[in-house]
């Protein structure tokens, strides 16, 4: 099976539909924004130049290609708005991922060590919110976090505070929103590795003199690395490009890149800038994935 082979006619018919679909609606659009990112922004519709026409001669295409510019990318570096957005997004995503991990680990561990007949129910309950609307779950937090929201009311009723805490429209609210929304993504891979772990490994460690804390640190934790990494990526990657959560829970200072992009595209009509920002965002997100893949390959082939 290792030799590359040609597909038979029947096989080609099967693969044609998905191939054409991703070609037309994924690869072509991605190439287009790559092209737009090196185009010039103009006040027109569509708001960029040059535009290639099917009737263009080779010479015309060449002439138009001469006008390609890296202005949009230069602007990304010089414009502090974009730089800040990237840094802010990465920081928020990293902090949220860490907090999600800290909450999810004991939760997943408790589920994995629960009596076996309870486990399907527990994991079902933990995964169920994933099937409900993301938008609604984020929205639910508004009622909790607002100045006149339930948390502030409760705290004031208990006499713990006298004036409402500003929680809504803050960076903290964005982090809470991300942690809450993405918790199932962290729980599921963690639970999967922890539940799969052979209990006799822990018994063997205890048998060889390891205290419960040592068993956790030397056996359980290192053996769950795969789940930690998978969960972290599943939270971190979408969190970086997140739009809804910062838009609904964040304040005006929460400049996450997804939101900046959206604004540039819809409000400023600066398509080349937004396209360049999108291309850079994709490149940034590829880095952790490639590192992960490399670590995995090294693990498998290691000596």
């Amino acid at each position: 099976m290792s030799a590359r082979r040609k597909l038979s006619l029947g096989e080609r018919l099967v693969i044609a539909a998905p191939y054409l679909w991703i070609g037309a609606f994924f690869l072509a659009p991605m190439l287009l924004i790559a092209k737009i990112s090196v185009s010039q922004s103009v006040l027109a519709r569509p708001p960029y130049r040059p535009i290639f026409e099917p009737s263009d001669s080779l010479a015309a295409i060449w002439a138009k290609a001469q006008t390609f510019t890296f202005d949009a990318y230069r602007a990304l570096v010089s414009d502090t708005l974009y730089l800040e957005s990237y840094l802010y997004s990465l920081t928020i995503a990293a902090v949220s991922t860490l907090i999600t991990l800290i909450i999810a680990y004991p939760f997943a561990l408790a589920m994995a060590r629960a009596p076996e007949r309870l486990r399907p129910l527990l994991i079902g309950l933990a995964a169920a919110p994933f099937w409900t609307s993301f938008l609604i779950r984020v929205y639910a937090w508004i009622a909790l976090l607002k100045d006149e929201g339930l948390i502030n009311n409760a705290l004031m009723a208990l006499g713990l505070i006298t004036a409402p805490l500003q929680m809504f429209a803050t960076t903290g609210a964005v982090v809470v929103g991300i942690v809450y929304s993405y918790l199932p993504f962290m729980l599921l891979p963690l639970y999967a590795v922890l539940e799969r772990q052979d209990p006799s490994l822990r018994e063997a460690a205890a048998d060889l003199g390891a205290s419960p804390a040592q068993v956790f640190l030397r056996v359980t934790l290192p053996l769950s690395r795969e789940g930690v990494v998978a969960g972290a990526l599943l939270v971190f990657i979408p969190a970086v490009g997140e739009f809804v959560i910062p838009d609904l829970l964040g304040g005006s200072e929460t400049l996450m890149i997804g939101r900046t992009l959206w604004n540039d595209f819809f409000s400023n009509h600066d398509w080349p800038a937004a396209s360049a920002a999108a291309i850079v965002l994709v490149a940034v997100l590829m880095i952790p994935l490639l590192l992960w893949e490399r670590a995995r390959l090294a693990d498998e082939g290691g000596a």
Binding site: M1, R4, R5, L7, E11, V14, I15, A17, P18, Y19, W21, I22, G23, F25, F26, L27, A28, P29, L32, I33, R45, P46, I51, I103, P106, F107, A110, R113, A114, L122, G124, L125, A126, A128, W131, T132, S133, L135, I136, R137, Y139, A140, I142, A143, K146, E148, L150, Y180, L183, P212, G241, F243, G258, L261, W262, A274, A278, V282, L285, L289
Partner: protein, 277 residues
């Protein structure tokens, strides 16, 4: 296991589930609050639900969303099935690497980027935006999920079964339809449901891909929510949550009764704790 550890686990589970469910439950309770204010309980009322029925904009959007979810999930599941078959049954064909990457890439692509790319493409080719472009967007978004779900099941299915069918005279196509397909049927259903809920829930792609006259429910909710908490939104949210809860409950019931049937053998085996094997 010591009692302390056991109590710590129970407490962890309790806190975890309260964190996961409290916001949703509070939202549902607030939808029955007669008062418009979050902080005041004005008595039990279903008036916001009644108001929903008169909100024609919202009802129209709900229909659009439902239609888009049904259509896009169907196309997406079909394409996902074809893609998964290509990736598991065709060996190492020449453009497999490209195909594999392109099929999986939307999984990690921020929705904002995918939406932006689709919109620029529609504009560049002069495609008018509306229901059809919305469905295209959702199929593109969900196809990677359906592919992954079906791919996993196809990889787990035993190729010897199909070989046995072919040995008994079935054509490769016949063997797939009669042997492999029934085995992966649960994965196909899961894939469909996944695509359906993702489409129903999507705000970002829809905002880019749709046009006038085809505003989806999440878009309506979003524009309302930006203005703050609204009792009508609480009500429609609760309805959507209840729908999912009922669907999940039914799915759990079906799978647990099936598991109980299969499980009897397992429990009788497990009853002897001193199992030498």
């Amino acid at each position: 296991m010591s009692a302390v550890v056991s109590w710590a686990r129970r407490a962890t589970l309790l806190i975890g589930f309260v964190f996961l469910y409290a916001p949703i439950v509070i939202l549902a309770v607030m939808s029955f609050n007669a008062s418009r204010l979050v902080s005041v309980w004005g008595g039990f009322s279903t008036k916001w639900y009644a108001a929903l029925l008169e909100n024609e904009q919202l009802l129209h959007s709900a229909k659009i969303s439902l239609a888009a979810a049904l259509t896009s999930a169907t196309i997406s599941t079909l394409l996902g099935l074809l893609a998964a078959i290509s990736l598991t049954r065709f060996g190492r064909f020449r453009t497999r690497f490209l195909f594999f990457g392109a099929v999986h890439a939307p999984l990690v692509l921020p929705e904002v980027v995918l939406g932006l790319a689709l919109l620029t493409c529609f504009v560049a080719f002069g495609v008018g935006r509306g229901f059809i472009t919305l469905v295209i967007g959702h199929v593109t978004l969900t196809m990677c999920f359906t592919t992954v779900a079906i791919l996993a099941a196809l990889r787990d299915s035993d190729p010897a079964l199909e070989e046995a069918a072919m040995d008994l005279g079935a054509t490769p196509f016949g063997a797939f339809v009669r042997v492999a397909l029934p085995q992966i049927a649960p994965a196909i259903v899961t894939a469909y449901l996944l695509a359906f809920t993702l489409s129903l829930d999507d705000l970002v792609i829809a905002s880019f891909a749709t046009g006038p006259g085809a505003t989806t429910l999440p878009m309506r909710i979003y524009s309302q929510v930006r203005l703050g908490v609204s009792p009508q939104i609480n009500a429609i949210s609760t309805l959507l949550l209840a729908l999912v809860a009922v669907a999940l409950g039914l799915a759990a019931l079906v799978s647990s009764s099936r598991a109980r049937r299969d499980g009897q053998v397992v429990t009788s085996l497990a009853r002897a704790p001193d199992n030498a094997s």
